[in-house]
């Protein structure tokens, strides 16, 4: 009964999405208030029905209803409750349900919090989001029904893929999707603006916070995923340039460009066309990512089912949504105008360079991801593009951008002076140069790559601090008290500092772990001692333990430094009987300076094991950097200015509305 209720409300949600996506647009066009007023109630009703669908499906997981095919394929009665509930997004059909659920959360948020927008604009915005939802719901109903019954029911389910039985499964997908799908709001803003033919400072001001929220979620989502791969896959890698990782990284790069370009549009009324194009691209890349994963066009560890029918459906959807948006862009954008002019040396031009760099980097990732497909389609053979390509090309493109990150925020709007910026940054240049030699020497080996990496990391971090000092200095005349001075600086500025600092921390982490990680594959018997990174790892033997739905062989390693015990690591080899699969659970002792990482390989003869021991210097800095970036975004959102601006925008919107009605 419950699955049928879910099925029914899914169909009802689809009906309301059609209402939401079509009639209000006609209403705005024909000036029919009755039709346009449908937008908000339709969106909210759709939200309710999608919520019911979600609850019904998750209830089926909760209640172990193995007469539902999707539940039987992705869950098991022995699966712990938290994973049973998260198993909803463990397969193809459920992740699509999660996708539309999150889209409807965003739409609901728009109906609640975007009250200050002019009425027609708001209606168009909601209608565009309705259209996006419509396509996805149709996709679910016609090709990927999660409520399909399995008759006769099976006694027990096939279990959730053991790789996914991890706390990461509970958080990573929803947070990532919040980011991915959140760009639909910026997309809808762009489309509504193009339909409106009006694109100005207020438009950028409305779009900015929504885009920042999505960006914060996406940043955290990607960081979670990377961390999860690091401890779960047992190889100690944190990024693989896998097609699906790239699919989430490309929207992030474009989203980052969008945040910066929105700032220019808001503050200087420039880059308008460009900003609109980026808004469209960010969401288009999210959709493209969905296509790449769901269609099986590319090989990836993340791919679930591969069904060409689904692929064709999503491709058609892409053509309609992205193609339609770009066509609208081609027709309407020429009328928008380019905005204010600016000098070659100015903050605008620096931000433009930042945008070009980020878009070029996205292009290089897109090319690398699609290249095997291009070659195959052209009959030029099967190839795969691996990390060497991405590492080289991506770093080469990003490096100049990172250098400019130091200059940009110091440059004045419209026209800046290079010698002035230069004199301010002399100190940062010296600090970065010295540390680029010193840090590698302290770490024990100096190579060009680590020197460049450390230079960039310290450069970004130190210029950021100089920026703060500079700001304090200019304000000192008016507010001599330091505390008052610091308090007076807007939160958005601190947000920017924190996010940029995060980039610096991230670069240092990547450079140092790449340059100085050590890795050993060993055969170890009980009481053997291995040395790595100045530490002694003693293998104390293994014991069998039983988990809720697995049995495990747990090894114990005592790590000592100069005779003192610093850590006890217990990696596991788990056997999940339902799927008959073996999982490696690495044991990690994280630290600020280094991680100790031990994982069990295969059992060998005489109770010996093959063991992998890694020392990962500064690897935690990678995720710390990402968290700083996200915190920066949160600070920017909390800026007091926003609330005032929003009130002002509300007034301006009211005036406009009145002007329209006259």
């Amino acid at each position: 009964m419950i699955p049928e209720i879910g099925q029914l409300s899914l169909i009802l949600a689809f009906c309301f999405a059609i209402l939401q996506g079509t009639l209000p647009l006609i209403g705005v066009w024909k000036n029919n208030a009755m039709l346009s007023n449908l937008a908000v109630p339709a969106a909210r009703t759709q939200f309710v029905f999608i919520a019911i669908t979600f609850i019904c499906l998750d209830y089926s997981f909760f209640a172990n209803d193995f007469s539902v095919l999707y539940v039987a394929s992705n869950s098991n009665s022995h699966l712990p409750l938290a994973y049973r509930l998260a198993a909803l997004w463990g397969g193809h059909e459920g992740s699509m349900i999660l996708w539309v659920s999150i889209l409807s959360v965003w739409t609901m948020a728009v109906t609640l919090f975007a009250k200050s927008l002019p009425e027609t604009f708001r209606i168009r915005l909601i209608a565009v989001m309705g259209m996006v939802s419509m396509g996805f719901l149709a996709f679910i109903i016609f090709t990927s029904n999660p409520f399909e019954r399995l008759i006769p029911a099976v006694l027990d389910g096939r279990d959730l893929n053991p790789l996914l039985q991890d706390p990461g499964m509970v958080f990573h997908p929803p947070v990532l999707y919040m980011g991915y799908v959140g760009f639909s709001v910026a997309f809808a803003f762009a489309i509504a603006a193009l339909l409106d033919g009006r694109l100005d400072i207020t438009w950028a001001r409305w779009t900015r916070p929504w885009t920042t929220v999505a960006w914060v979620f996406l940043t955290l989502g990607i960081a979670f995923g990377s961390k999860w791969a690091y401890y779960e896959l047992g190889w100690g890698g944190w990024w693989f340039w896998d097609a699906v990782e790239n699919a989430s990284f490309m929207p992030w790069l474009v989203g980052t460009a969008l945040i910066h370009s929105l700032a220019v549009t808001e503050k200087r009324d420039a880059f308008k066309v460009w900003t609109v194009l980026l808004s469209i691209c960010a969401f288009s890349l999210s959709l493209l990512g969905t296509f790449l994963v769901r269609s099986g066009v590319l090989t990836s560890v993340h791919a679930f089912a591969t069904d060409p029918r689904r692929g064709i459906f999503i491709l058609m959807y892409l053509v309609v949504v992205i193609g339609g948006a770009l066509l609208l862009f081609a027709l309407r954008a020429p009328k928008v105008g380019l905005g204010e002019r600016f000098d070659v040396v100015s903050r605008e031009s620096m931000l433009l360079t930042n945008n070009v760099v980020l878009v070029a980097a996205t292009g290089s990732v897109l090319l690398g991801t699609m290249y095997p497909l291009l070659m195959d389609a052209l009959g030029a053979g099967k190839i795969s593009v691996g990390p060497p390509y991405f590492d080289t090309v991506f770093v080469a493109i990003m490096a100049p951008g990172l250098f400019l990150m130091g200059l940009g925020p110091l440059a004045k709007w419209k026209k800046a002076s290079l010698p002035e910026i230069g004199s301010r940054l002399r100190v940062a240049a010296v600090i970065s140069f010295v540390s680029s030699l010193l840090v590698p020497i302290v770490m024990g080996k100096l190579t060009l790559m680590t020197a460049v990496g450390v230079f960039m990391g310290i450069w970004v971090a130190s210029t950021t601090l100089i920026l703060l000092r500079n700001r304090i200095k200019t304000r000192r005349v008016a507010t001599p008290n330091l505390i008052e001075n610091l308090k007076g600086i807007p939160l958005a500025f601190y947000g920017m500092l924190l996010a940029h600092l995060g980039i610096g921390v991230f670069i240092l982490g990547v450079t140092l772990v790449k340059g100085y990680e050590s890795e050993q594959d060993l055969r170890m018997e009980k009481n053997d001692v291995a040395k790595a990174g100045g530490l002694a790892f003693k293998f104390e033997g293994t014991q069998e333990i039983a988990g809720p739905n697995y049995v495990s062989t747990q090894g114990t390693f005592t790590v000592t430094s100069k005779g003192k015990v610093v850590a006890v690591l217990q990696p596991e080899k788990r056997f999940y009987p339902v799927q008959g699969s073996v999982m490696t659970e690495a044991a990690i002792q994280p630290g600020v300076v280094k991680d100790m990482y031990v994982s069990l390989g295969e059992p060998l003869e005489n109770g010996a094991w093959s063991v992998r021991i890694y020392i990962k210097p500064f690897v935690q800095w990678i995720w710390a950097g990402a968290i700083l970036m996200a915190l920066g975004g949160v600070l920017a959102l909390l800026d007091r200015r926003y609330r005032i601006v929003n009130k002002k925008a509300a007034l301006a919107a009211q005036d406009l509305q009145e002007a329209y009605e006259v």
Partner: protein
């Protein structure tokens, strides 16, 4: 370029990408052609399963068309494939030889005792060295080798009835001529 044309560039790029994606839907990224197809099969000598006194020598197979099926008792997909191999053996038209890959004689023999033995002879490859020469990366795999000792076809994964009837049997008929 006129102003409007410039704004059409993103759309044009997108449509080109769609073309490739559409084509990509009908390609299988998992299908990797073996570089060994068309090359002489690596020769090997290996003990015969459950009868270590005898040796299988692949050089003795010259002048006949034969199938080399790589399998193992620990391989689930091999069990799915097994009935097809049995059917092939019943026809007496196809000479299927087995290579027991990274397995123990005892366990392999147990599987054959319960399910039947479709092979003329089974060579053992306990440490997987022969498998490396053949580029085996998943079991089961099947190679069709012609009279000159050249690999003419490689099947990765189980042989299905469809593959047998549309690919392997026509090829064998041609080669045996």
């Amino acid at each position: 370029m006129s102003r409007t044309a410039k704004f059409l560039i993103p759309l044009a790029l997108f449509l080109i990408a769609v073309g490739f994606l559409f084509k990509g839907l009908f390609l299988d990224p998992h299908e990797v052609p073996s570089p060994l197809v068309g090359k002489p099969a690596p020769t090997f000598q290996a003990p015969v399963l459950s009868d270590a006194s005898k040796t299988f020598n692949s050089a003795d197979m010259k002048d006949q068309v034969w199938l080399l099926n790589v399998w193992a008792s620990w391989c689930g997909a091999c069990r799915d494939e097994h009935p097809i191999l049995m059917a092939m053996a019943k026809t007496n038209q196809i000479a299927t030889y087995g290579l027991d890959y990274k397995d123990t004689d005892q366990e392999a023999q147990a599987v054959l005792d319960t399910n039947g033995n479709p092979y003329k002879t089974i060579a053992t490859d306990a440490n997987g060295k022969i498998g490396i020469n053949y580029g085996v990366y998943g079991v089961p795999e099947t190679y069709v080798i012609d009279k000159a000792g050249v690999i003419r076809y490689k099947q990765i994964g189980p042989i299905t009835e469809e593959i047998l009837l549309t690919k392997i049997v026509p090829l064998l008929k041609e080669l045996q001529r």
